[in-house]
Amino acid sequence: MVMAVVAAAALRSSSTRLSRLLPGVCGEAWGHQARRGAVLRVLPFIPTQDPDVIKKMPEDFRAVYPEFLPGPKPEYRNRLREKLERQDMLARRSVMPIPEFYVGSIMAVTVADPNASGKNNRFVGICIQRGDAGLRAWFILRNVVDHQGVEIKYEMYSPLLQSIEVLRLEKRLDDELLYLRDALPIYSTFPLDMEPEVMQEGAPVPVNPIKVQLKPRPWHERWERKNLQGVMDLGLPERFYKKAKLHEKPWEKYDLMKEYRATIPEEEQADIFREISPHYPLMESTRRRGKRKRVLPSIS
């Protein structure tokens, strides 16, 4: 029975004492019905005894499979529920493999649609955003069809999805490409019958350094305040940038606890990897499907 490591003199609430003695809730925020103003205390994560567990985790695990990491909000967290969710995710992936993709990759998704001819609907688009953890994980594909911008949100683990293909695997300079809504349509247009491009096995994911040109204002958001890397010079009058500076929060990058509360710690990620590692080879084999080019060593 592993106990939460809490300094004896620092016990502030009786709930911490009880959780030391109740098996199965160690290391977990005790979410019993508390009064509204009551404080939720998050106990430290207790890693497994294996000292090499962090080293065994691949470097890119959290980038390729981000939805396996649970959502960081402690009010919704429960180890058992996360474990059951991961089991379901792995079961679904064994039936329909989900390839590696990033925001900026061009993908084709086929869904079962009772109203479509041939009962399947295929859509090609650029991934502009992906979000949520676990079985709720989704991504948005954008394309311009007949001069009309179309965005479709797909739930990755929905059984209606027949296949997800990555036509071009690449990253962009930003984590979210929502500014494509205000960019010239050419930047969001991709042919619906696009062929999958050659993907190098084992090569790092290329970063597309393209700088997108935005249409004149009004926009959906104040892009000058968002610190975007992937857009051309916005060409706005000086007052916009002055106002943007007032809204900047330069101290936030030094706020260590704010960034900690938004992340899952290293040891926990390694534990999650350890849990799913029996299924990892199967997932890796389907990670980069499509035309693959083997890079042969040169003889010279």
Binding site: G31, Q33, R35, R36, R136, P159, L160
Partner: protein, 360 residues
Amino acid sequence: MALPKLQCITHALKNLSLLSHPDQRALVCVNQVRAMSRVKRRHTVPPFWLPKTTRTMYPEHMTPENEVFLKDVIEEKYSSPLKTECWERGTWAKNSMRCGLIGRKIGIYPMWTKDGTRLLTTLLQVSDNQVIKYIKPEDIVQGKRKRYRELGALVIGADHIDPRIVTKEYYSVFSEAGVMPKKKMSKFLITPNAKLSPGTPLYASHFQPGHYVDIAGITIDRGFQGVMKRWGFKGMPASHGVTKSHRRGGNIGSGGDKARVLLGTKMPGHMGRERRILRGLKVWRINTQHNVIWVHGPAVPGGVGSYVYIYDSVLPDHRHTQENHPPFPTCFQDEEEVEEELYDQELHTFREPSVQFVEK
């Protein structure tokens, strides 16, 4: 003029209706309650007649070896086969009521049906449920409602507590049954044919996918809330001359004959932390290894980690019949073999191939 109703409050553990004979009750008049609007909703302390669960802890400075020894003794004591007498197991008859379970809400996640419809399911974990006591129909403290059938009660407990931190009074509740002290207890009314001997463990397989349950729980505490969130008032416009009344309640009376504010007028106040029952929730899936039940919808009262009380549904549409009744009086998982994962027929298990629509 109607006399004010007297509340009979039983005090001290031995008078608890859960456990005692009605003759031992002491009648004490505590409060004259004239209307529900006068009942205090926010209780920061438990009622005075409930026994203290945990004793006052002092630093004991016990050596680590002694701690280990005590843990071993406790494990040995409670892991030995229970001294439960094997009672006769009843069979299902029409209008039988069996006990429910005490679970904890552990989260919400989406599932899909075989035709692709997405639904949200709440996961409820049933951990260490055991029968503490059976109360015969003659010993039930009768409420004011006249009952037309004989009903006994089963006291079910959930989640162990270390016996060392528990008060003697509270411990005596469990010593008869020979079970480890429990954190949460609840009384479930049953027909006598559903009785179970004290110490019987209860598992999630007590319910089955495809059946319906009612869930009682305490809703999330939202604190002091205004009239818009609490009662759904529409408020007033943000501009167009409205002075200082954008989220207020507006008029509170009609004047004239009734020259007063009527009882029960909706006003701001404490919202949440109340017991509510949600009826007719379908059980979609059960995991017998971890004792988890997947129940329809995200609206189970309470936040993640709160306790809920799960009953068989009383709704007329979901009444049990001879053909489709669940294991009665419960599923004895230790004796029979149960599959690890049980799914409803309409549910898409993730191992099945993707949903496809066939061209007609």
